[in-house]
Amino acid sequence: MAYFDYAATSPMPDPVIDAWTSAVHQRGNASATHRDGQKSRLLWEEGRDKIAAAIGALPFDVTLTGSGTEAINLAIKGLFWGRNQTSEDNRNAPPLLRPRILTTEAEHHATLDAVHWLVEAEGALVDFVRVDEQGTVDLADLAAKLGDDVALFTTLWVNNEVGTIQPVADMVALADSAGVPVHLDAVAALGYTPIDFAHSGLAALSVSAHKAGGPVGVGALAVSRSWSIVPLIHGGSQQRLRSGSLDAAGVYAAGVAAELATADLASKVERLAALRDRLQNGILESVPGAVLRGSHTNRSPGNVHITVPGLDSVSALFLFDEAGHAVSAGSACQAGVQSPSHVLRAMGVDDSEGPLRFTLGAGTTEDDIDAVLDILPAIVARATH
């Protein structure tokens, strides 16, 4: 009964559940002036401090949102608007100052759909930077596509589907020399690779609590003070870049989770990488034709992504589920329908290759790995035509 879908959402460790359930007892709106409100505010701020610490940002530079998707939307749309603002009351007056957005075709839908919306609704132009067959951003192509008319470059720190870790320092250096701000979707990075926002040179960085042991419903965007971001959501100005009542309990629990997920990160990464290697080597040895996707050298310690020629992923997932193991095909689904992965397509992988994604986390054990390795060859054989 193993759980291999940490990248979809991760189970909450007991200390996080305790933090959350104790915090919800605190009454009072965190923006109210009375003592109840002040206590709620303290919880919220403690949570934000911990989240900021986990990603190496100053607390005041971190905006809490309702999801990772919202953080990513705020970053991309907010930066685009900010970069095209000619004066306070003259936003996006055509012609746009910097209409181009650079990204890749291997992004999460939060990015692709936000960029697509800017193209459709705001007249943005999108230029896709090439990724190689392992999903790594092609730096030469990035350099060639940068320019004065680029509003921002946005990509993943760790690819959520195939686990590739991008060359962040190199990308930022290139963009910096062209004066282009970089936003990274670090949702799959938190707890899996060290993040030091303040020293990264990034303009903005998004994370999501529930991918790292926190509750669903808390995202965060760190923004460098060098760049201007226009808010998406207007209301009571509870935060500089985001209106809406402050979620004291959720943010407090998210802070506890982020702290747990990043404490002694090096040894956590080492432990997970060993489990990951055990799983991926076991699969490659026992399944004929299986190919490890994503980077073989710079990959998340929590991701094993394989494809098998002719594998019907839907059948394989059913058989894993029936055996009690939660596994994913990695690609986005709508109303539960699996669609061919745009990430694999961007990497040049044929649709006839059936994907399986195993994502590992704090609770993953050697027994879990061995249990799934035990039944995997039979399942793959049965689900391959």
Partner: protein, 377 residues
């Protein structure tokens, strides 16, 4: 038994699934994603392909405490049902897409996958009954509630498919009872309206939908002597038996309404005539199948050198048509049915289902008709 329940998101399949669970089977629910437009929302009561339908099915499975999945059959559905529907209309025939879906998707692609994954049978919410002949071969019968009977659209199932089919609603006296049962079981789809239309035509206007997919040219509407009575914008948008929408403008000479007698894509003509001209004395088809034992094995016909001898039966040519007494026989590779009284409004491409009493014997696709009045040349 290990059962896969095909859950459309409607009340019938939800109750059928509930009954299978209650009967002690190990049931897994599955919703078939058939549409290429997953973002589509339901308008009115139609459809079994929308996001809402899949969520309704998921909710029902959740209430029943069974695992649930959405499986994507949109590619096979598009090819076997939608493209076939368009091709048949383009050729001047009138297909039944629900039948094709049962034949090629629910009891073929889905059933095959179910068997591959270790299931024994597929459950659906169809109103029909499966029983066993004395030799152990399955038989398909009309539902107890004849008004809701759906055995016609299942007539295309073969013996093997019937062995793995389960229709728990077959003995339910009325749909009202199914809705009451859904209510009692706390299923949120209890009051969901029935779907009536073709699920992949969201606006429900078949003619407009076809016009966007079949290259149509304007042409002549002619009488049986070839005299031009009017014009049309595309012959393939017409169906044999159709009366409305001919746009002939002037009343006919005898003042009687005109009906479409034939659609001829080759000459782009629509032939019209009076009601009696629609009368068909004989229908036949080369593409047939038997639901269980064939007429010879069933002991109602004798083999001949190129077919079998005639036997008394009833024939039904549309899902909601009344069955008509007839005799059937096989000769030279085709099944032939001669109704006691002429059939009215038969289009090639339609399926004729042959019944003996409540039993569905089999079906054939009508590819040849003989007019009772011999007006068509």
């Amino acid at each position: 038994m290990k059962i896969l329940a095909a859950m459309s998101g409607g009340v019938d399949s939800a109750v059928a699934t509930a009954r299978a669970v209650e009967a002690g089977h190990d049931v897994t629910g599955v919703h078939l994603a058939l549409s290429r437009m997953p973002g589509l929302f339901r308008s009115g009561s139609r459809g079994c392909c929308t996001v809402e339908d899949s969520l309704d099915a998921r909710r029902a499975a959740g209430m029943l405490g069974i695992p649930f999945y959405v499986w994507d059959f949109s590619e096979q559905f598009t090819e076997a049902v939608v493209d076939d529907f368009i091709a048949e209309y383009a050729a001047g025939r009138t297909p039944n897409p629900c039948m094709r879906c049962n034949e090629r998707i629910k009891f073929a692609a889905l059933l095959d996958k179910a068997i591959d994954l270790g299931f024994d049978a597929v459950v659906t919410g169809h109103y029909a009954n499966v029983t066993m002949a004395v030799d152990g071969t399955p038989e398909l019968h009309r539902a107890s509630a004849w008004a809701k009977d759906q055995s016609y659209v299942l007539g295309v199932l073969t013996t093997d498919q019937l062995r793995h089919a389960m229709f728990p609603l077959g003995d339910t006296p009325s749909k009202t009872l199914v809705r009451e049962e859904a209510e009692r079981r706390g299923l949120s789809v209890a009051n969901k309206p029935d779907s009536h239309d073709i699920c992949f035509i969201p606006e429900g206007d078949t003619r407009d939908w076809l016009a966007e997919r079949i290259p149509m040219e304007s042409g002549d509407i002619v009488d049986t002597d070839g005299k031009v009575l009017g014009h049309h914008d595309g012959a393939q948008a017409f169906t044999v038996g159709q009366r409305k929408g001919l746009g002939l403008g002037v009343p006919s000479a005898d003042g009687r309404p005109r009906f479409v007698l034939a659609v001829k894509p080759a000459t782009n003509e629509v032939v019209v005539g009076v009601k009696e001209d629609l009368d068909i004395a004989e229908i036949a088809g080369e593409r047939f199948s038997w639901a269980g034992n064939d007429p010879i094995a069933s002991g109602i016909a004798e083999p001949t050198s190129d077919g079998f001898t005639e036997f008394a039966c009833e024939v039904q040519i549309r899902a909601h048509a009344d069955p008509v007494p007839a005799v059937a026989f096989a000769r030279g590779g085709e099944v032939v049915v001669v109704p006691d009284e002429p059939l009215n409004g038969v289009a090639t491409g339609q399926t004729a289902v042959v019944y003996v009493g409540t039993r569905v014997l089999g079906q054939f696709t009508i590819d040849r008709t003989v007019s009772a009045t011999a007006v068509l040349h």
